[in-house]
Amino acid sequence: MISEGVKDVVSANFDRQYYLSANPDVGAAGVDPLEHYLIAGSIEGRRPVFWFDPGFYRDRYADIVNAGVEPFYHYLVAGKTEGRMAEKPFAIERHTIARAFADEAHYVHSKSHETPIGLAELIGVLDNVLQKACSHLVLSVSHDEYTKISGGLQNAIGQEQREVNARGAVYIHVAPAVPNMGVRESFVHSAEAFRLTVDGRPLALVRAEDLNTYLARWRQNNDIPFILTIHSVLGHSVGFIEELALRLKPNRSFIWLHDFSTLCRQFALLRNDYEFCWAPELGSHACQVCAHGAKRSDHVDIMRRLFRATCPTVLAPSEVALDLWKRANNYIYERAVVVPHATMVFDGTRPRSRNIGNPLRVAHVGVPMLHKGWPVFEELASNLCARDPRYEFFLFSAVKAGSDRIQWVSVDTSKGNCNTMVEALQEAEIDVVIHWSLCYETFSFSACESILSGAYVIVMPTAGNATLLVQDNGAGEVCEDKAALFELFQSGEIVQRVKDYRDRDIPTGDMLMETKAVSIMLNGASKP
């Protein structure tokens, strides 16, 4: 029998939205979530809010069990003040680290169950496309079908394809039949297949060797420059690219540094998937204890082969990305060029007023995932500042997530207007964006969008180009760690910072997608 006193305290702090989301069986049964928690959920170890673990609390504090007190109630009325822990310390990080060691499935290549089209059909499809005159043929390689997945890299490839087409060239894109994050050494001729997309239209599943055969024949019979551009080699075999480079002898080859997958299979350089590692030397302590460390030496050897085979021009979306990459490898390449995906144009479009929100409107922009800082944002919004009248919290993303303390604004940046996010942030009058990416961003569309919207942007010191953008544009500040971030909000100092920022008549504007990379790709190419 739960007393009314206990029920009142728990009810005032209970997160119904979170509980129903985490326990779909409760919603399906039509049971009131709070009642379920008090009667059964607590004993079963189901969390009443994302930041409290009743199972852990019972396990850790035997006196609570002996006294028969409900754990969440105890924590709220006494435990927190007594310094008791609400959940396992660093629960999210530890779960992430454990999963990094346990989960090799992401890196394993598997064969598709679909049957690829045959060579004859492939010839028919591609002859049809290539029968028209074209200035160049671009073969683009990445890890997934860019027309079907929403993301910064996918958008950049889409932009590249449209620009290539606008200049009269054909754009053939290949993605692994079954996406995975491994890079294989050998090309298994009979097994490898690609999802083929031509000029933005997904066409078919084709055998890699058939594509190689077709392109080799086309190359023999045509004087049109052939360009190879590798956006990502994850899920592919270097053997295939080596063979392709040998047979087709591209006029120009390019490898993009959208991420750091050319340095380590952990493409974001997150040691054990949770902390940026700065790409230390092989054999460092970091590589020794990292779940990916044991594979890094082989991975680097495979990458060295890739670079040797293609002798590419390296394209980096930012100076900081290129600097880090250069420091951490000794691959052979022709030259390296910095080509940002976009430029921020501060033309005063949709200017912000000097009046800041009351409550202050604080947002997370982009996917709500660990490596993009979502757990920290969620902790701030749904725990630390859950009932703080000074702040209102938002998630701007194509994906809904978070407790009922966070308002979701659906934004899909995958199609059309590249300023969709900027406009959405301005329409919602967002004052602060917490850009808590754990990754060393090579470019960061979200940082650009946040800055252009006139929001005050808070970043970590290790966020790569995002940190640089904020600092160079005076568009916010760098917070050393989570404790410093939380202090900014608890103390209320963030309100004054935003007031001071907006008092400066800060510029706003739009993003202009850049085409310099396409010019470099197509310019001056001729058959060797």
Partner: protein, 341 residues
């Protein structure tokens, strides 16, 4: 100093840990000779080749020069026995002519070369690592850690280094003799396996080096004072100096609890713990049943309660009467007859 030998002591249930240790020692000291002393007997079907892959020399407990072996072994539980043999093995390896001998517990992993130890062995005869090198500042930590050191030994004998000189040999013989008689877990009576004995070492012997480098023997009992952190070069630092080795004692509920209490803001320790767990899985042998210990049972297969061992070892008259207490019809039968079983 050219010939450094390194040994560890296990029962077969801890072999996977010893293999991790061996791997990390070979990585950082490829020139060291590796020994393992196994206080056990192998089960049927045991794959002996896994020992050969990891170690240069293997000593089984019954090969040691111990009088009344069965009686001696019976007095000890598995931890006590694996500790009691350490003095014999040290003495033996010194006799073989090693320039220096390093003992390292099987649940330790090296992360960088033990450069300070190698250097110190040029001039020191015995090197010990204390449990704590800094004073605790909170009452709970004082009771948990400083008092524990007073009860269980100032120095953690998960690590020991001994030079093959006169002092080192005398220490080895003295330690062997003490452990042959009293390597027991009786902290309340002033004895804690091999550790409490070594509180006497700086008093008895010259040329003893107390290694206070923060990178040595980092463990759950001192991690609050030696926060672990990676720097940008990927070096793992303990209190700002390179981690030499970490002691993964009790990587289970109890050990993890201590780490949680004392880790502070250091998340790197949890990476080490998961790394170690993954390494243990990799090094498991399917030919060793879980919780295997040959000396844990009477000859009829019944497990030996620790109380039986205590009763046996506290009365020397039993040693002559029951020379092989493992035979259940002897000592145990007497216990049953007298209502002490």
């Amino acid at each position: 100093m050219t010939r450094i030998h390194c040994y560890t002591s296990v029962s077969l249930a801890y072999l996977q840990r010893a293999r991790i240790l061996a791997e990390t020692v070979r990585r950082h000291h490829p020139d060291w000779t590796l020994w393992v002393c196994i206080s056990d007997k192998p089960p049927a079907g045991f794959d002996l080749s896994i020992l050969e892959k990891s170690f240069d020399h293997v000593i089984w407990v019954e090969e040691l020069p111990v009088d009344a072996m069965a009686s001696w072994i019976f007095k000890h539980n598995v931890v006590e026995l694996c500790t009691a043999v350490k003095g014999y093995v040290l003495d033996h390896i010194l006799e073989q002519g090693a320039d220096a001998v390093v003992y390292i517990d099987p649940d330790i992993a090296l992360f960088s070369p033990l450069v300070e130890v190698v250097e110190s062995l040029k001039s020191s005869s015995v090197i010990l690592t204390p449990h704590l090198i800094d004073c605790e500042t909170t009452v709970s930590a004082i009771l948990e850690n400083e008092r524990s050191a007073l009860m269980h030994g100032v120095y953690n004998l998960g690590f020991l280094a001994v030079r093959n000189d006169d002092i080192g040999r005398r220490f080895a013989r003295w330690w062997r003799d003490r452990l042959s008689l009293f390597s027991y877990e009786e902290a309340s009576r002033g004895i804690y396996t091999d550790q409490r004995w070594c509180d006497l070492v700086p008093a008895f012997f010259d040329n003893v080096k107390i290694m206070r480098h923060a990178g040595y023997n980092v463990a759950s009992w001192n991690i609050s004072q030696r926060p672990l952190q990676f720097d940008r070069t990927g070096c793992l630092l303990a209190k700002g100096v390179p981690l030499r080795f970490y002691h993964f004692t009790k990587i289970d509920h109890v050990g993890e609890l201590m780490i949680e209490i004392y880790a502070g803001q250091s998340k790197a320790i949890f990476e080490l713990v998961e790394w170690y767990r993954a390494a243990m899985q990799r090094n498991e042998s399917s030919t060793i049943p879980k919780r295997w210990w040959f000396y844990g049972n009477y000859d009829d297969g019944a497990p030996i309660p620790y109380e039986h061992r205590l009763t046996y070892r506290r009365d020397p008259s039993y040693f002559e009467r029951y020379k092989n207490p493992y035979v259940h019809s002897t000592f145990r039968a007497w216990l049953e007859q007298t209502g002490q079983a």
